[in-house]
């Protein structure tokens, strides 16, 4: 089943994607979604170095993608 989602990009991912967010139609789980987008935008960071959030809360990579979800890939943080 296809789901229409909004993906948010931050920091180096946003620079690589060239946009802060995009609306896309996807299938499968969050890991496959990242791999697809990594291939499309040339993200340097492997999935192991990221966390993923759905609708403002941390999620698991094997969670299925839900229609209407707002998905954010979280590169290693550097606050402080």
């Amino acid at each position: 089943m296809m789901a229409r989602v909004t993906v948010l990009y931050f920091a180096s991912l946003r620079d690589a994607a060239g946009v802060a967010s995009e609306n896309i139609e996807v299938a499968d789980d969050l890991r496959s979604l990242y791999e697809t987008l990594r291939a499309r935008h040339g993200f340097a960071l492997p999935v192991e170095r990221l966390r993923v959030a759905v609708d403002g809360a941390f999620a698991r990579w094997d969670d299925p993608v839900r229609d209407g979800a707002e998905i954010a890939f979280i590169p290693p943080v550097s606050g402080g």
Binding site: L8, F10, S78, G79, G80
Partner: protein, 141 residues
């Protein structure tokens, strides 16, 4: 009650500190993180912090709630800057009040360590050589 905040203007430490003090307090500890002019051997001209606001707020609150549970403290707050910062500006502030100093020191250390490790905030540094880049450090050991 919110204990964690993102701020896009300078942090007023005196007001924040006053909010933590009352008659029960015997010890107060704070940590201030400042923008320095160098990082990993390179001259830094300035930086920008970017946050995923909704998740940063939620995760910041979780860090402060965990500190309230783990340590014998009376209150705690943390404020982190976002946006463009110059050298010498205050980037992050943590304040903790407790009856005794040990808990105040320990909780203050815990909060800044966890915020740096978990809260979705990213630093973009501008270097003297003219280039700039996002910092995506390896996970702490």
């Amino acid at each position: 009650m919110t204990r964690f905040a993102l701020a896009d203007t300078s942090i007023d430490t005196a007001t924040l500190r006053a909010q933590l003090l009352d008659d029960r307090v015997g010890g107060y500890a704070s940590f201030e993180g400042w923008v320095r002019n160098h990082n990993e051997g390179r001259d830094v001209l300035g930086l920008r912090y970017e946050a995923y606001d909704a998740l940063a707020q939620a995760e910041g609150e979780r860090v402060l709630a965990e500190a309230m549970e783990r340590f014998d403290i009376l209150d705690a707050k943390c404020v982190h800057r976002v946006g463009d910062l110059a050298i010498g500006e205050l980037a992050v502030w943590v304040g903790v009040s407790a009856a005794h100093r040990d808990a105040a020191f320990a909780a203050c250390r815990f909060i800044i360590d966890e915020v740096k490790a978990r809260v979705p905030i990213w630093k973009h540094e501008r270097y003297a050589e003219g280039d700039a880049g996002w910092l995506h450090p390896e996970a702490r050991p």
